[in-house]
């Protein structure tokens, strides 16, 4: 676990500050909620427009006249966007940036299997990814109590776990792109195309005729709206998301172990 622990210690600033910054959306919403509450009904009417519904996806179905509705709509959308950027930018560069800088040559001359090296570095990403849902959860508890509102904390916990599983699965797909291309620019392009396409397919899937597109994107499984509707974790969705993540991670480890490092 040397690679994991060392990189965990070395990356703590970025690893903590970024999730903290993203999760500040919760106190921000809590800050505007008391004044927004009075106009919420009118705003909800505007959101019934099909274009907004398509843009917001299942989040658009939330009842934003309640704290729970506004919380999940804003936090959900904000975290989805954060996940898109994080999953594209970080895992794809785990190996590719080392190739760019040429640091792998020395490291891999030591007796550590390549797959284990990669796995430990991915685990650092997976660990810091836990902080996004964790910080959001803590801020949600604090702000809900200070506002005197109610929020089902069990469902919130499951929704936050859902976000982490997305980060894991999409991150593993992005990692696979990194190991396939071994070059930051190409890895980021491939990872971006893969993840943004899925996000766009989810949004287009909100339009009636294109709903079949949703079946092929990770974002359609373990969605916050789905977890809220279900009142907890949806095990079949969990299996799909974890399955995608595990297969992509295994493929990335295999590719990195077997491929030649000709650069």
């Amino acid at each position: 676990m040397r690679v994991y622990l060392k990189n965990l210690r070395k990356g703590w600033k970025g690893g903590i500050i970024t999730p903290l910054f993203v999760s500040l959306i919760v106190p921000l919403i809590a800050g505007i909620w008391p004044s927004f509450k009075e106009q919420a009904a009118a705003f909800a009417e505007i959101l019934k427009n099909p274009i907004y519904q398509a843009l917001l996806g299942q989040m658009g179905l939330m009842d934003i006249t309640t704290w729970q509705g506004i919380f999940y709509m804003y936090v959900g959308i904000c975290l989805e966007w954060a996940i898109v950027f994080i999953a594209i930018l970080i895992p794809a560069r785990i190996v590719a940036s080392e190739v760019d800088k040429n640091t792998l040559d020395v490291t891999l001359s030591y007796p550590i299997p390549r797959w284990r090296y990669l796995l430990e570095k991915f685990m650092v990403y997976a660990t810091y990814s836990l902080l996004y849902p964790a910080f959001v959860y803590v801020f949600a508890v604090v702000n809900t109590n200070s506002l005197g509102e109610t929020l089902d904390m069990t469902v919130l916990g499951h929704a936050m776990m859902g976000f982490w599983f997305w980060l894991f699965a999409l991150g593993a797909l992005s990692l696979l792109c990194g190991t396939l291309f071994l070059d930051s620019n190409r890895a980021l392009s491939a990872s971006g195309a893969l993840i943004v396409t899925q996000y766009v397919m989810t949004r287009l899937g909100s339009l009636g005729d294109l709903s079949f597109l949703k079946d092929y994107t990770v974002f359609s499984y373990l969605s916050t709206a789905g977890i809220l509707q279900n009142g907890g974790m949806i095990m079949s969705d969990l299996a799909v998301v974890v399955g995608v993540g595990v297969v992509a991670l295994a493929a990335a480890l295999y590719v990195f172990q077997m491929r030649e490092l000709a650069y």
């Binding site: 040397r2 060392k6 070395k10 800088k101 040429n102 640091t103 040559d105 020395v106 891999l108 001359s109 030591y110 007796p111 550590i112 299997p113 030649e260 490092l261 000709a262």
Partner: protein, 316 residues
């Protein structure tokens, strides 16, 4: 006693490269048109490095030195041939081999956000550092290990790279231009360390463009050119055996240069003045001497060429 020890070491090959062929890229022919490009990395390269010797690996840029080293380390997939290190297959037994080797790449890059000390601690977990020897290395090299790598000069980074490779006192060192960027004093210290390691029975395989370095530390050299190994020879023999400068002054008739160059062993012939010729002769000089008996000579001098002249001969 020392000679006996050296001979015992030399009986065993640490590295054996046999018919190593590495071609980069692919060429596909579709409907008569060729797509892609094949670039020769190495072609049928064979040589061995014996236990307890320092083997210099030389060649012009792009000749295949780094390709060979990266193939030995199993970073590259070779198309043909085999590589064994300590008698183990370089691919199948890569992890066992790496427990016993140290490597300094040509284009050395270390983690910028680590200090030298952190790097040594980090890699200590993979291949344990010899603490006593590390202290010795710290007294030899001047790089400040408490500083972040990004704040070090390229020469100091190279020193850290060398310390990392040497710190575990590995049995076999693969060094790609190990003293590039070092000042002459540090380079000399590195050479002394290499010789000390050799005296302890360690084996070193190094590439270099610094001929003085090669002459100072290497026992044998291999020269690679356009992916092919064109020479493997003891450094001691190289100077006397491979190239001699012959200066001949004639009293009357002077043979024409083309006739001289037609002699197998004569590599080049040039007129120094109207009576004197300067010839570069490779290996057997007797044929030339027999030819010269047909002429009246004023003076004849035969000198060993410098190592630089020999290398240039092979590089060109």
């Amino acid at each position: 006693m020392k000679l006996a020890t050296f001979k015992a070491h030399t009986q065993e090959a640490v590295l054996e490269v046999s018919h190593l062929t590495k071609i980069y890229g692919r060429e596909i022919t579709v409907a008569g048109r060729k797509f892609g490009r094949r670039v020769v990395g190495t072609l049928d390269v064979s040589f061995s490095v014996r236990k307890g010797e320092i083997f210099g690996f030389l060649g012009p840029n792009g000749a295949g030195k780094t390709t060979t080293m990266r193939a030995i380390l199993d970073y590259l997939h070779i198309q043909e041939g085999s590589v064994t290190v300590f008698g183990m297959d370089h691919h199948r037994d890569a992890l066992e081999i790496r427990e016993r080797i140290g490597y300094v790449p040509g284009d050395l890059a270390l983690y910028d956000n680590f200090t030298g000390e952190e790097l040594i601690e980090y890699f200590d977990g993979f291949r344990p550092v010899d603490r006593e020897y590390l202290q010795e290395l710290r007294s030899v090299f001047r790089a400040d290990l408490s500083l972040n790598i990004k704040s070090l000069s390229s020469g100091n980074r190279q020193q850290v790279g060398l310390m990392l490779a040497l710190a575990s006192k590995p049995d076999f060192l693969i060094l790609d231009e190990p003293t590039s960027g070092l000042d002459p004093l540090m380079a000399a210290s590195a050479h002394r360390l290499f010789k000390e390691l050799k005296a302890e029975g360690k084996t070193i395989f190094l590439s270099s463009h610094d001929l003085a370095e090669v002459q100072a530390v290497c026992d044998r050299i291999g020269i690679i050119k356009e992916g092919r190994m064109i020479l493997v020879e003891e450094v001691e023999n190289l100077v006397s055996k491979f190239l001699q400068n012959v200066r001949v002054s004639f009293t009357s008739e002077v043979p024409d240069l083309e006739t001289l160059e037609a002699i197998d062993s004569v590599i080049s012939a040039e007129a120094e003045d109207e009576d004197t010729l300067l010839l570069k002769v490779k290996e057997d000089i007797n044929e030339l001497l027999r030819f010269l008996t047909k002429y009246e000579l004023d003076r004849l001098s035969i000198e060993d060429a410098t190592l630089e002249e020999i290398f240039l001969q092979y590089y060109e």
